[in-house]
């Protein structure tokens, strides 16, 4: 799983930081900063929920292909 965050879309709502605090944080601009671009598999549920809750649809998740896992 590879996470990319579009900071041009981000509105700083902070739901990703609340939902997956090991993966996302707010920077000094109050916008998303991805701490872990390829987080541990056990965090996948939280990251998917963060993506689903994001009001600005600023998070993209790329699932690694079966060969690379």
């Amino acid at each position: 799983m590879l996470i990319t965050a579009d900071r041009d879309r981000c509105i700083g709502a902070g739901l990703c930081v609340l939902t997956a605090p090991d993966v996302f944080e707010h920077d000094d601009d109050g916008l998303v900063h991805v701490l872990e671009q390829e987080p541990d598999a056990r965090l996948e549920g939280d990251v998917r929920l963060a993506q689903q809750l994001c009001p600005a649809r600023a998070l993209a998740l790329e699932t690694a292909s079966p060969q690379s896992t």
Partner: protein, 376 residues
Amino acid sequence: MYREISERGPINKVTLWDGRQVWLITGYEEGRRLLADDRLSSDRSYDEYPTMAPHLGAPAARKLVLVGEDPPLHNHHRRLLNPEFSLKHARALRPDIERIVNGLIDGIEEIGAPADLVEHFAAPIPSLVMSALLGIPYEDHAFFQAATAGIMQGKDPASTEAAAAELVRYLDRLVTAQEEERGESLVGRLVEHVDTGELSHDEVVQLTMVLLIAGLETTSSMIPLGVLALLDHPEQLAALRAGEVPAVTAIEELLRITAVTDFAGVRWITADIEIDGHLLKAGDGLVISSTMVNRDERVHEDPYAFDITRGSRQHVTFGYGIHQCLGQNLARLQLEIAFETLVRRLPGLRLAVPAEELRMRRTGTMQSVERLPVAW
């Protein structure tokens, strides 16, 4: 009535008070899909924007910065405010909010039962927090609470306009004072953007007004309604008091079930949108009901049941899309501390009057009770 409407499907038409027909969205995915669609406009200066109550037709209510703006201007203003409302910034205020909330409970204990939780707890919490954040003297709280209430609950457009004009005059003086001598406050920092040419003096005044309107009535309405929901479910109140359910979890259900304004979004459509076999035409008005979206059975099992263990943030009480509440981190923190402290320090909390005697607020678009007399 709501239930009947939503049983007709997630996308419906309803007639507003002024006879206008608008789309009413009651489904979670449909509401979110539309609120993220850039063919929707929040710009209230157009006649196409639905007026949800007579007083909201007042000019002051039709040209709100930030909440009533579309990109790119909306994004410009939001970007300047985002750093102020980040999770980090909200959390840094925790000790202040705890002190404020505990101080109010001290006051309630001094007054003795019965005490009105609206006047002595729910209203002053956001008022004290916003004063500290914005750099507004709390001595003026009676004025700015009355002025924001006057805007939100005006009995007609003229009274809303008058309340807004009075608040603008007050904030204009406040911003001017900050321009002359910069204070360590949000308004002081906004004034720095006037120096760089990113904002005008009037924009700072208008932004401050919107922050006050959005920050006061919402939280102060949410607290009494949440207390009522908990008193209605004593076993859940006990679980919260015992710490079996953390307050941070419980407040999400309180937010889901008692969305204080029913509008997750009021918009007008700038270009035709086809959605699930419906054609939403350019110029149509659109209302997304948070009350119903939050009870979508495709998202929440047994959606009408109040269950503080749910802890789901899949609600649209703070809206959705680019206008989602800027102050939600601060709102969540105030609610968490308010409910945790209230049930812990007043363990025998109960209504001091029969429930039938509670009067729901009749004016405006924000639901609450006028008074909430309690004993403990």
